[in-house]
Each structure stands twice: as C-alpha cells, then as structure tokens.
C-alpha cells in the first residue's frame, strides 16, 4: 500500500517553486558589490534608454519624487496625506516648472536604506530626501545638482547652563543616537581641540531626547535641522536653546541619476530660479504684478519676458513664473516650512541669500 500522491496539488506546488527562486536566491551580492551593480544599472538607464528623464516625466504626466517618510519641516504629510515641507516644495517647484501644476507630482516616501536604489532603478525621478552630498555618494552613479539646505551637526542645551559656544562643552556629557556619523564628527572636533567629553548613545531619537530631558546629559547632538524639531517635543521648549555653531558640514542636496545632463540642469536651475526670484524680490504674492510691471531687466529675464531661457532647459519661457506662482521663491518656501511662521523657527543662517550673509547663491539667469 503506497502513500497518497495528490497529483494536481503537487504540480501546482512545483510550478510555484520554479518561478520565484532564481530572482531571490542571490544572497551572495552584498553591500560591497552594490556600488558595481549600481554603476552598470546607471549606464543602462542613462544611455540605454533613448529618451531622457524629462521626456519620461512629460510622457507619464507627473513627476515621481522620493522624499523622507516624515522629517519636520522637510517632508511631512498632513491629516489628509498631502505632503508639505522644504524638500516637498522643491519637488512641487519642479512639477510646476514642467507641468504648471504643483500637484503633478507623486511622493514616494523612501527609507534611508532604499533611497539610492529607488533612484538607480528609475522608480523615482529625483530624490529630495535631506540627503547629505558627499564625494562617495556623488561618485556612486548619482549627481547632486544644487544644495538646497546647508545643515550641520549642532547641540541642544539648556538655557540655564548659559552656554554660547561649543567649546564651553568641555567635560560635558553628550547624548547621541547610535550608528550615525554624529559620533565620529564629535570625536574629531573635540580631539583636535584637546577637549574631553563623554558620550551616551541610544537606539532612537525618543530615548536620546528622553535621556537629555531627564538630565542624564548636558547636551543632545545631531543635525541642527532635526534639533529644532526635537526641541518642540520637550516639555518646555523655551528652556532649551540650539547653539548656532555647527561642527560638521551637512549640505542637503536633491539627487539625480548620472548621465542625464538635461535633467540635472533642470533640477539645479529649479533651485537657482527660486534663489534668483528671491533676490529679485519676486514673491508668490507679487509675481503677477511683477510680470505686468516688469521693473528690472533682471526680473524680466527671470520671468521669461525677455530671452527665452526656459526653452534652453527644455521647459517653457515662463518656467520661473510658474514656480513662484505655485510654490514661491526660496524665502517663501523657507518661511512657510521652517522659518518664523512655523513652530520650528529655524533661522536662515547659512541658508540666507549670499548678499544677506548666507551661502545661497543663484547663478544669473541670462
């Protein structure tokens, strides 16, 4: 007597086995090989496809933008799932320049692990996810066209301690989140200055903030842009201050795939256009008036009344007017998402225009 042999069922099971395994059973390719595979892939998407990213975006009818899944001031969903923030505004500005609509964009929240893959595989057109521009990332098959936010590692301390500069934190205990470059930056900075400090690390930002609030540490260190959000989570935000000094450079830049110069130009000039508009005094609330009156030659060129610079990018002549009308200039976006109008109250600092003591410098549109 033989054991049962249910044929149809088994054949099905067999068929199911065959399909998924080859694609999945490649555990040998680990992180060290990743860069290589990224490169081959980039060449494929960059040169293999006849049409550039702009043509693909236009054909699709909307932009696909990778954002952070929730960082105060940079990309936050509201109660209806509508995204806001500085990074989000940048993508909306791109969409406005291309489609004359800030809503012609899909936001795909990206985890920090998957963000570069998403860009390489063509899942997203642009990555605006408070990503620090570094050499190793720049050479790994992606480009960072322009710096949209200058950040740096800072410190949150109690006002009562009366600390004004980082060097006064000598012999202090500092709370950090594990597994970030924060710890290395801190070590470099304190060691080169011959200062001592003690570090207490935690698994996540909640625990780190909790330890700082409970008095376990004198200071809490991470990127300044996040510290403003963290301060709001404390029981008494007024009792804490963020030191203006930064001990590292964290330039946040949108990322694009290598090998598509037109798209790279469009992304870079979208940011520059927002800066140039601010510099020329073209704001969201006066853009139509400026277009009618067209005071200065500079403003005329920016607004597309002279020249036809938008066409050179593959866009329309009024591309900047579209951006400012729908999203605003850089200052508008900053004020709406990070500045004094928001609970975060992040000062412009390095992100002020170059002629106001900052680093934001838009090359001329001409």
């Amino acid at each position: 007597m033989r054991v049962v042999r249910p044929r149809p069922a088994l054949l099905l099971a067999l068929a199911l086995l065959g399909t998924p395994l080859p694609a999945w059973a490649e555990p040998a390719k680990t992180d060290s090989v990743k860069t290589d595979s990224v490169k081959t892939d980039a060449t494929k998407t960059g040169t293999g496809k006849a049409e550039g990213t702009l043509a693909q975006v236009k054909a699709r009818g909307h932009l696909v933008c990778g954002v952070s899944p929730g960082v105060a001031g940079f990309s936050v969903p509201d109660g209806q799932g509508h995204w806001t923030g500085l990074d989000v505004d940048f993508c909306r500005a791109l969409a406005a320049a291309i489609f004359d609509s800030p809503e012609a964009v899909r936001f795909i929240p990206q985890s920090s692990a998957a963000r570069f893959t998403a860009l390489q595989s063509g899942e997203i057109d642009v990555l605006a996810r408070n990503t620090t521009w570094t050499l190793s990332r720049d050479t790994a098959a992606m480009n960072f066209p322009a710096i949209t936010f200058y950040d740096g590692q800072g410190f949150l301390v109690r006002k009562a301690l009366n600390i004004g500069a980082v060097k006064q934190l000598d012999r202090a205990t500092i709370c950090l989140q594990q597994g970030t470059t924060t710890e290395l930056n801190l070590a470099d900075w304190f060691r080169t200055r011959g200062l001592t400090y003690q570090v207490v690390t935690f698994a996540n930002s909640e625990q780190t903030l909790g330890a700082y609030e409970s008095g376990r540490c004198d200071a809490y260190s991470t990127d300044q842009s996040s510290l403003y959000g963290e301060r709001l989570k404390t029981a008494h935000p007024d009792e804490h201050v963020i030191l203006s000094e930064a001990i590292s450079k964290e330039p946040f830049a949108p990322g694009v795939r290598q090998g598509d110069d037109q798209w790279r130009d469009i992304v870079a000039w979208t940011h520059y256009a927002m800066l140039d508009a601010e510099e020329a005094g073209i704001r969201q609330d006066n853009v139509e008036q400026m277009r009618r009156e067209a005071p200065s030659p500079d403003a005329r060129r920016i607004l597309g009344l002279e020249g036809g610079y938008g066409e050179r990018l593959g866009l329309t002549a009024d591309w900047v007017a579209r951006i400012v009308r729908h999203v605003g200039n850089y200052g508008d976006s900053f004020a709406r998402n990070l500045g004094d109008g928001t609970p975060l109250k992040i000062p412009r600092g390095l992100n002020a225009l170059w002629n106001q003591g900052g680093l934001q410098y838009g090359p001329p549109i001409r």
Binding site: M1, A9, W24, G70, P77, D78, R106, I108, E123, Y228
Partner: protein, 385 residues
Amino acid sequence: MSRADGFLTEGYVRKTLIPPAPPPRRLGGPLAWVRTNLFASWTDGLVTVLILAALAWLVPLALRFLVFDAVWTGTSGEACRPEVVGHPVGACWAFIGEKINYLAYGSYPAAERWRPNLFFALLAFGAGWMLWLGAPKRAWGAAYLFVVFPVLAYALLAGMPALGLVSVATGLWGGLLVTVVVSMVGIVASLPLGILLALGRRSDWPVVRYACIGFIEFWRGVPLITVLFMANVMLPLFLPGDLTVDRLVRPLVGIALFASAYMAEVVRGGLQAIPEGQMRAALALGLTKTQALRAVVLPQALKIVVPGIVNTLIGLFKDTTLVSIVGIADFIRVLEAARADPRWSAPAVPATAYAFAALFYFAICFGMARYAGFIERRLAAGDAR
C-alpha cells in the same frame, strides 16, 4: 514474600471505612465560586491578592492616561501641553483625530477614498460570509474570498481605467489600507500554498518532495527582514532597467512565500498526527486518493492544527509592520510620519501614537484569537459526543 503481600494488601485493599465527611457548606452562588476559584488554597489566595494589587495599581494609571487626563479636542500640539490644559496630560487623542484620514488611507487621493472604503466593506462581507458558521452557501463564501475578492480588490484599489476607475499608484497607498492589504495577501496566499507544500513534503515523488523541502527550509532559514531588504533594495538592481516590479508587490510576494513556508510546517504537523489507517480505510471504501485526502485526512488534520494556524496568522499580521523598514507606508510607518509634524509636537504625542497602535493591533489579534477559540470549541463538540 510476606512483605510484598503486606504491601499489596495495604496498597490496594482498605480495611477501614473512610470517616463520613460533613456535607459541603455551599455548592452554588458567587461566594462559593470565589472560594473554589480564587482562594482554593493558600498559594491561590496569595496569587489572587498579588494580581488584584497589580490591577489596582495599573488600571487607574491606564484609565487616567487613556481617558481622564486625555485631550480630546484641539487644533495643534499646543492643546496637549500641560501648561495649556492646566493638568497633567495623558493621551493626545486630538492628534489622532486630526490625522485619522492619513492613518487610514495614507496619501490615497481624497476623491477616490470611497474605493478603499468599498474594499473594506467587501472584505468584511467576505470574511463574515466565511467565518459566520450559520451563513448560507459557505463554500461560495470561500470561493468569493479566495478568488473573486482578490481580483475585485485589485481592480478597485489599483484602478482599472477601462471601468472608469482612475489608476492609483501603490506609492500613494498607506496606513490601515496597506496593513490590511499586506496581511490579507499573506493570509489568503499562505493557507493554500502552505497546504500544498505540506502535502508535497510528504509525497513519495522524490523530485516534488525535495523541491518542497528545499523551498520550506530556504524560506524558514532566512529572516523576514532579509527577504524584505532583498525585495525592495537589492532586487531592483538585478532586474533589467526596463523591467520594474511594483514596490508594494515585491514585499507582498516575499511575505506570502515566507508565511507559506511556516504554514506548511504547521499543516504537516497535523497531517502526521492522522494515523495511516484513516487513509487506508478511505481507499478501501473506494475513494480516490484525492477524495480521501480532501474528505478524510485534510479535515481532521486541519482541525488539529487550528491553534497553530491562528498562531502563524497572528504572527504574520504583526510581522507586516516590518515592511515599514523598507519604506512601505504601513500603519506604523504613517503613525511615525504623522508625528513628525512640527505643528503636533508635544511630549504626549509619541506615547499617544504608540498607545493607539497598541490598541489597534491588540484589538485585531485578540479578535482573531477569540474567533479561533470559538472554532476550536465548535470543532471539539464532535469529540465530546
């Protein structure tokens, strides 16, 4: 010799009568119930007192946080700060209230939200049809839930321009919707797949047997998080540039295969508990092997493993939160994103978000466990006869 005799006599034959005991003081009523169930012995009494003390300490704490000190209305995080409210603040339910649409649908377009709503309704209908034992034509219910419903759900949620349903990219799905979709796909795929794999593993065709063993051991041998990382981070790099698999489908396939490997082992446990004689008797009666399997072996085997199946399903439901690590906006992920909102920054908000998540997951898992308990009692009724 005599010693053994004495032992036997003393051990097995009483020589004296037991002294008559007085009748029990009380057999019914609440007091008797308390006596027998809570204070039957000295240790029972001690444990009861300890548990009561713990409850007396914890329940008021929880109630104060969840209800009495909670803030129910407000338009920003300021409303949930103690200095504004004037007393210590518990949960900030106003935050959940403001974000509830985002928590339910993610960024699913507001004008199209009737589609996820209809999806939930169709799911509830199908689940009710299949799970309510008195429902008419339950076989049709199963066919609906396992075949018709997935097709309907796909057309409804992803869109079908031919039917006038605008397509909605899966990147816009989020929250409760994604959690339900991921766990439903896991449950609907893993049960039949798991049964097939379990049967395959006991087959006497070596090719099939070893293929099933290989499949099961491979998927059980890798952590779910590795599977998800492979699906969402590595897989797109290996695929040719013009071939893209949807970013929600990739982890869905991974979870379904992963869960089916576990389900296969649970079902195999049940199959092995059925004596060989059952199958032989069924064959001797003239049933074909498939009939015998379907009508005799599988019903008994599945009945045995109901607790194991439910255990796997509950585990699967909770494991779906891992997709948030690879950037899928599931319920936990949208909660995290929602509380990043600087307008709603207050010390009470993170605890509120996690309390809400805990209540949500507990309600669903407890519901599943209770239903399984009911099914078990129902199936055991046959044994009692």
